[in-house]
Amino acid sequence: MKKLIAFLCLLASGTAYAAGAQVHLDTWPEARGRNLAALQNGARLFVNYCMGCHGASLMRWNRLNAIGLDDRQIRDFLIFGNQKVGDTMSIAMRPADAKAWFGKMPPDLSVITRARTSFDYKGTDYLFTLLRGYYRDAASPTGWNNVVYPNIGMPHILWELQGPRETTIERIHHESGGRGLVREVSVFDAAGNATVTRTPVQGHAAEGTTFSFKAADPALARQFDAEAADLVAFLAFVTDPSATTRVRIGVWVLLFLAFFTVLAWWLNREYWKDVK
């Protein structure tokens, strides 16, 4: 019975939690996806920071026309190698090398916001929180860790844009072997050195992980939130480039069909008038 109640509660709760990390995800500001300047800024960040390791190999460069860039701008500002505007946005890193360097090939990001969506949360929210969820962790091989994706292989490529931060992660969980809940607070300083305190929980508390950051330069960190939102906007565009066209045409199609259906209803009524 308890399980059933827990299950029904789970069904009822609409909040977004990432399956692996069990942390609350921030909401990506969707308006950025309709803003051409934001999409172009996202494209700039993508080619400068992401495309060393991640391709978008199902997307052609000149499809970026749709976010207001002409072929010359794409060639001059976005393509760094010798690719043509009609080529796909692929990268030079070979999978075998990537495996040796990172343990696995970094995923292609052509359809990433859809691939990261689930019944519980949107891929855009996941990526928006992931990009802003890095913290210094001296114990990790790259020196970086992530609250959304613990022990992530990718280091914080965009760290300069965000500036150093101090991170507090509070995890309430059942201690292995012991009874009762434990509150584990880990404070990571800007260099990634952790101070962990464990205290038994008095009374009732929900299991789960919460986190908070203290930025050395709060204005810079806030600026970074906007940059991350733009980058996610670009990834969402790359994932489904027909989305805006689709919605625009869709409105007209539905208007036509509404008109058509009224005519059909009228025709039907005229014919059926004689049926007694």
Binding site: F119, L254, W272
Partner: protein, 465 residues
């Protein structure tokens, strides 16, 4: 040979003189096919199923022009269609949305049959062809789902093909034969492509033709379950409650088509993934034979049957065997023929031994496959299971209707749990659902006779517009 005598003039007359079957068939199936005039909302879904079939075939032809059935290129060729082929995203979304709407429309079409007893005498052949269409449609959808070559395509196919390996003796070889390889691979993709684009569509179109021919031989049922051919006009010899299909039901169905297309295109243009039900999120990750997704779920239209498959676990076999024993006794005390009585006991005893009989029992996985198959095939038996004196729910006891609604709820609950990852709650609900699902059908010969029936009128209920 002299020219055929024609009543038509001009070009049509010239053609009719030389090929009279065109106008003869036109009259037989459209302008002089007498249809009950009291059709309601539920009667739109037959013609809509044809519309969706046409959408699937037309868009399918265009997709085939650009799609590459090659494990190395399949995933990217779908995205190539979505991005680089002019209007490609529209064609692809038509096809993916159409697949789900095919099942929506067919399920509603089948519900109509259950509501008004459309499978009863003399329409058994119509019903059997309909059930075969449903089976072939499931195969068609299954083969098509492998083609985008995403993680769900790959692992879904892997799970379903592996089911065949549960069949004793021939199972393992049979599953290799289906895949053309020891795992789902390029060979599998190629043969599924062949089956999806030519073999199954041909069978499907043939069965649809048979379904309609069978229907037009006996005439359509209607919400009252009244046979309109039993009340003919003395002057014309035509059914008094019938009207020509064309133009009355053609204009009527065009109106229904308008409403349907509004719903269809609302999904297509504004939510083509339909929240991960029409296009599963995991299927945007290319197939990776080395990485099993944490949760494999079939597309929504298969999930009720998938739930029945998953419900069949070792402990559940005891409940199933007990259910079968009770059912055998029920048959034993109701059947009149002595031979049939003892045949039922003998067969049930053998099946129960195979279900729970220690060393003789078969793998529960195999029983799961058997039950999943039975849950689809049992629809074919409906004309013989339903013994109600009235065809239509309108003249049957109200609780019969609510029982049918209860069955629909069980079907939807099974469907819901089929989309969810396995859990103890899921398993228990699926098991209860499985028992109720089969009880609805297997107990029908008893419950469908019970209760108070209203007198069935000789003419249909119809109010002029």
């Amino acid at each position: 040979m002299p020219l055929h005598k024609t009543e038509h003039k001009g070009v049509l007359g010239w053609i009719d003189q030389r090929m009279p079957s065109i106008m003869a068939e036109y009259k037989k199936h459209l302008s002089e096919y007498y249809t009950p005039k009291n059709f309601n909302f539920w009667y739109f879904f037959g013609s809509l199923a044809i519309v969706v079939l046409v959408i699937q075939i037309t868009t399918g032809i265009f997709l085939t022009m650009h799609y590459k059935p090659d494990a190395r290129h399949a995933f990217e060729s779908v995205e190539y269609i979505m991005r680089d082929v002019p209007g490609g995203w529209f064609i692809r979304y038509m096809h993916s949305t159409g697949a789900s709407f095919f099942f929506i429309v067919v399920y509603l079409h089948m519900f109509r049959a259950l509501l008004y007893g459309s499978y009863r005498t003399p329409r058994e052949m119509v019903w059997i062809f309909g059930c075969l269409i449903f089976l072939v449609l499931m195969g068609e959808a299954f083969f098509g789902y492998l083609l985008p070559w995403g993680q769900m395509s790959y692992w879904g196919a892997q799970v379903i093909v592996n089911l065949f390996s549960a069949i004793p003796v021939i199972g393992p070889d049979l599953s290799v034969l289906i895949r053309g390889d020891f795992v789902v691979s390029d060979a599998t993709l190629n043969r599924f492509f062949a089956l999806h684009v030519i073999a199954f569509p041909l069978i499907l179109v043939g069965l649809v033709a048979a379904h309609i021919l069978a229907l037009h031989d006996v005439g359509s049922n209607n919400p009252d379950g009244v046979e309109i051919k039993e009340t003919l006009s003395p002057s014309t010899g035509r059914p008094l409650d019938g009207i020509p299909f064309h133009p009355y039901y053609t204009v009527h169905d065009i109106m229904g088509l308008g409403v349907f297309l509004i719903v269809f295109f609302s999904v297509l243009f504004f939510m083509p993934e339909m929240g991960g039900y029409f296009l599963e999120w995991n299927n945007f990750i290319p197939a990776d034979p080395l990485q099993t997704p944490s949760h494999i779920a079939p597309v929504w239209y298969f999930t009720p049957y998938y739930s029945i498959l998953r419900a069949t676990t070792e402990p559940f076999m005891v409940a199933l065997a007990a259910g079968l024993a009770v059912y055998a006794l029920l048959l034993f005390f109701t059947l009149r023929s002595r031979v049939a009585k003892y045949a039922v006991l003998a067969v049930s005893a053998v099946v129960i031994v195979l279900m729970v009989g220690g060393p003789l029992k078969l793998d529960p996985k195999l029983w799961g496959v058997v039950l999943m198959g039975a849950s689809v095939l049992i629809f074919i038996a409906l004309p013989w299971l339903d013994c109600s004196p009235a065809k239509s729910m309108r003249y049957r006891p109200a609780w019969h209707f609510w029982l049918l609604i209860g069955f629909v709820v069980v079907f939807l609950v099974l469907g819901y749990f089929g989309t969810q990852p396995p859990s103890p709650v899921n398993e228990r609900f699926s098991q209860i659902g499985t028992l109720l699902y089969f009880a609805f059908f297997l107990l029908m010969p008893w419950w469908s006779r019970m209760g108070e029936f209203k007198p069935v009128p000789s003419r249909v209920t119809f109010a002029a517009h």
